[in-house]
Amino acid sequence: MKIFCVIPSWNQANTLEKVVNDVSKFCDNIVIVDDGSTDQTKEVVKNLPAHFISHAINRGQGAALKTGTQFAKEYGADIVVHFDADGQFRAEDLQKIVAPIINNQAQIVFGSRFLDTTTKMPEFKKKFIMPLARFINKYVFRINLTDPQSGFRALGPLALQEIDWRQDRMAHCSEILVAAHRSGLTIAEVPITVIYHEFGQKIGGGLKILRDLFLSKLNN
């Protein structure tokens, strides 16, 4: 199966080269989507073994992932993996995340930071933000997964056909989860290790996600 790894990048020139070189061992094609970076990204990608797409202006992670996924589909991808450019994910986990699709056990796979014991998540995030997000997912969206905001995921052929998302910013994570459930796809979770360099999504970010989902619901 032809595996494409889509890496959205916004001002991640410092980590991008290492991430791409690490990931290239585990997939057939890499698609870097530069989301309107103002750093040295364009220079860095010149020598990297990857397809390169550039948004003229910053449109958000969800938008960049959709651009990369659309590109991968046009180039005949069977599996598309979404991977971060900041070096927080481990390239080796890519094998784990595509395995259930290759073995016909799942059509979409989410990486979970909670199934893995080595991830050192900030305590406030682990004990307050994540349980709250899990609670919202469970009782508002009827989704019962261990990781409510996983950005590391693999979409198999059927998922690529069925799932579409419209959220440009961070709410795409929830939107993809909901779409996967509503499409009746077989979902799997695999443990992944996340190395936290910074706190990441804060309470304000969570509220923005809820706001975006609410506005999108009203606009439909």
Binding site: N29, V33, V45, K46, N47, L48, P49, A50, H51, F52, I53, S54, H55, A56, I57, R59, G60, A63, K66, T67, Q70, F71, E74, R166, D168, L215, S216, L218, N219
Partner: protein, 112 residues
Amino acid sequence: MLQEYIALAFILFFLGRLGWQLYKDQISKSQFLMWTLFWFIVGILIIYIHAIDSFTTKLGFSSSGIQLLFYIAVVLLFYWVLRLRLTIEKMSKEITELTRSQALANKNSNHN
């Protein structure tokens, strides 16, 4: 009564200003009509403020008619802000679509 005359004077000032803006081509005819209608309605409400007062009392509210108008105005403002927000969201999505199609048309590849 004086308050009502002052309010009506303000409305006349704004109507005059609208007419001047239309004459100077600073606003379109549809904008002129919309704002004229708006100030016209406000004027009617001010002229009949005592009737609104009694209507408010009949409805069982302890406040005066002008307060009721303020409450309605606040609700309408919230609604308009929401509509504005939805329009901005829609435009934002369209900008993303445009950015995406441009990006996909100009893609580069270092793959063999």
